[in-house]
């Protein structure tokens, strides 16, 4: 081992010495968490586009968003930042901006007219003090309901349009021996289901008041209690094997015809596509309730660096990511829709086109929890929601009480 490692260390040092001056100009180390098959195919679109533009893309993928973000922050604080790093659209990188660790891309944003092309919630989530501090690259709709078309056709039922209707339909499906709702029984997905219900039945305004303003009055309102009660009733529409299940296993219950409906973000489409199914044929997607779409997504940020080569690379990257062709190719693979609403989406699948059409009306754009709420408050809400969901004896009032406590105590 000794001689081998010494040899490789020498080679490494040698390579480093030789290559640094040459590559430094356009070398971009990119940290992200896109590691699944579909995701890595998507990020490859960016890598190829950047290579074509004359740069060198150094891929640093770390599995799991939490791990990847922690690694990025550690490296930034340690003074050895990557050239570009992925975050979710929203508050995750607030403190990095406050501490002067990120470069703004306002000049490129103005040249590219980003403010005219992107939905307002996405712009607001990336602009601080009037400057763009990140490049949004996609839009994910988070409150889609995927359903198995054959199950509904066989049962002679229509996919529900509202949540009270969904509970009725669900009971009928249950009587026929089908699992009405396939749920990944992990706190994140239980919260996601609750969010879909809150925005679909309670309305966008209530959603913003609860997650964004932490309005105690809103939490104590009759409407919120109604939402809580509906959520309580939905417990009965889930199969006993749900707790602990992964979301992709839940989606596959719908794919294989064991379950009728599945609430998830549009990233779940990847599972249907991988199973060889087509949107609008074997499966459908719809927004239950008022038809508002909860949107979040991914952004790339550019850590402050003294390295002139890295600075040049950052400028180049910011422009490459939003090229219309690249946007279309990337989002087809990722399952999201282009962040620029001027891109022609007619070549995308039915669900993506629906997304695009819904978002054309600004009134339908609702900010995701990552945008309007701190990770800490979202987590506290998640604790309350998962307790309520899993404790069938817990009343809606007790849940409201927990939500109020979370509003008051979370930072």
């Amino acid at each position: 081992m000794g001689s081998f490692s010494r040899f490789s260390a020498c080679t490494f040092a040698f390579t480093l010495l030789c290559s640094t001056p040459v590559l430094a100009q356009e070398k971009a180390e990119v940290m992200h968490w896109w590691t699944s098959a579909g995701e890595s195919a998507a990020v490859k679109v960016f890598a190829d586009a950047y290579t074509k533009a004359g740069g060198t893309w150094v891929d640093n993928a770390i599995a799991g968003g939490v791990n990847a973000r922690a690694a990025t922050v550690n490296r930034m604080v340690g003074g050895n930042p990557p050239t570009m790093a992925q975050f979710n659209t929203g508050k995750q990188f607030d403190e990095l901006i406050e501490n002067g660790l990120l470069v703004d891309v306002e000049a490129i944003a103005q040249a590219g007219k980003w403010r005219e092309l992107m939905p307002k919630p996405i712009i607001e989530a990336t602009v601080r003090d009037g400057k763009f501090y990140a490049v949004p690259v996609n839009i994910h709709g988070q409150n889609w309901m995927f359903y198995n078309t054959k199950i509904f056709a066989d049962a002679g039922l229509e996919p529900p349009k509202t949540f009270p209707e969904l509970i009725e339909t669900g009971e009928k499906l249950k009587a026929k021996g089908v699992i009405p709702i396939a749920l990944g029984g992990q706190p994140t997905w239980e919260r996601n289901l609750f969010s879909a219900l809150l925005v679909g039945h309670g309305g966008a305004d209530l959603f913003r008041k609860i997650y964004g303003a932490r309005d105690v009055e809103a939490a104590k309102s009759d409407k919120f209690k109604e939402v809580a009660e509906l959520y309580g009733k939905m417990r009965g529409l889930v199969d006993p094997g749900s707790p602990g299940r992964n979301w992709n296993d839940a989606a596959s219950l719908v794919i294989t015809g064991k379950a009728a409906m599945h609430f998830n973000g549009d990233w779940a489409k990847g599972e249907f596509i991988a199973a060889g199914q087509t949107a609008g044929k074997e499966y459908g997607c719809t927004i239950v309730g008022e038809g508002k779409l909860v949107i979040g997504g991914d952004v790339f940020v550019f850590p402050v660096t003294k390295d002139a080569g890295a600075q040049a690379a950052q400028q180049k990257l910011a422009a490459v990511l939003l090229d219309p062709e690249t946007q279309l190719a990337f989002n087809k693979k990722k399952g999201s829709i282009p962040v620029r609403l001027d891109v022609d989406v007619s070549s995308m699948d039915a669900c993506a086109q629906k997304s695009h059409a819904v978002l054309k009306d600004p009134a339908n754009q609702v900010e995701a929890t990552e945008i309007i709420s701190t990770p800490n408050f979202t987590g506290a809400m998640q604790d309350a929601i998962t307790q309520y969901w899993n404790t069938s004896s817990m009343s809606a009032d007790a849940f409201v009480e927990k939500v109020v406590t979370a509003m008051r105590s979370a930072s």
Partner: protein, 310 residues
């Protein structure tokens, strides 16, 4: 750890008695410097850093303000932390007791000079060679009502059979205990078996002459002799109780609801996922304080007082 090394080094150097005094201590001390530095900087330093951060309002990045005990107040009012603490107690007591009892029984069983002892020993110790993550995933599949044991028994014709502990809020914590015991009993067995092999065979013969039944022999004569082994096993098991994290993440993810949350998971989630360093470090500090409170009297009794008597 450090004390043990000191003693070992000291006795090692003391063996050739003719050496001059300076030459005896210096190499040992020099050899210890790196370890001592690491212990001081990494362990003690990080501990103090953690305690300091727990009195701040840090969120994503460390801040050095001072907010007094605010984070601790929050912690005590936090349902999830309270449940986590209770779970540690439930899991700790049942897991340690279960491992000791089962481990002792297995050790006694093997000590009967059974045929194929080596094979049994390997089989019983085998679970310990797996990580908690693998253990957790395997038991999750096995106990999943739709996939594992319940389905198997139902498919065999017992359609009323129910075993849904994994997805039942009240019982889920006990599934962790089961998986934990499965994992840890083998190690306990190995430690106790080593002890059993050290027990003088004449004792057994004498007991038989006196007509002592075997269970009585093991319980009243052998077990007291095994006390040091039992203590060792208990300490090892207790350590895995405090740092219990991977088993929970792999098996239940803390659910259903928050039924199987544990303090270590609370700390990790708040540090990395929820951008709440202050609350996470407060929970970590509270864990440290608890461990110190439990261990301090024992350390005192074992090391400080006995030295004083000598």
């Amino acid at each position: 750890m450090a004390t043990v090394t000191v003693r070992a080094a000291a006795t090692g150097a003391a063996a050739p008695a003719a050496r001059p005094r300076i030459g005896r201590g210096l190499p040992a001390a020099l050899a210890l410097v790196p370890t001592a530095l690491i212990v001081l900087v990494v362990y003690v330093g990080c501990m103090l850093w953690t305690v300091r951060l727990s009195f701040t309002s840090s969120t994503l990045l460390p801040k050095f303000d001072f907010v007094g005990l605010a984070q601790y107040e929050r912690l005590i009012l936090n349902d999830r932390f309270v449940v986590s603490a209770q779970n540690t107690v439930i899991f700790g007591v049942l897991f340690i007791a279960g491992c000791l009892v089962l481990g002792f029984l297995l050790a006694v069983f093997i000590d009967q000079r059974v045929k194929g002892e080596g094979a049994f020993r390997t089989v019983f110790l085998f679970p310990y060679s797996m990580s908690f993550v693998v253990t957790g995933v395997a038991w999750q599949w096995f106990l999943n009502p739709g996939l594992g044991l319940e389905k198997l028994v139902r498919d065999m014709g017992f359609s009323d059979f129910t075993f849904d502990w994994l997805v039942n809020q009240e019982m889920a914590i006990y599934t962790l205990v089961i998986a934990g015991i499965w994992h840890g009993a083998g190690l306990t067995m190995a430690i106790l078996l080593a002890g059993l092999r050290g027990v003088d065979e004449d004792l057994w013969k004498a007991a038989r002459v006196d007509g002592v039944p075997p269970w009585r022999y093991y319980l009243s004569i052998v077990l007291p002799l095994l006390r040091p082994m039992v203590v060792t096993a208990t300490v090892l098991l207790a350590i895995s109780v405090v740092k219990l994290y991977d088993l929970v993440v792999a098996m239940t993810g803390g659910g259903p609801g928050i039924a199987t949350e544990v303090p270590a998971k609370f700390v990790m989630d708040h540090l990395f996922e929820r951008n709440n360093i202050a609350l996470g470090t407060a929970a970590a500090t509270l864990m440290l304080v608890t461990v110190v409170i439990i261990i301090a009297p024992w350390i005192y009794a074992r090391y400080v007082r006995s030295k004083g008597r000598r």
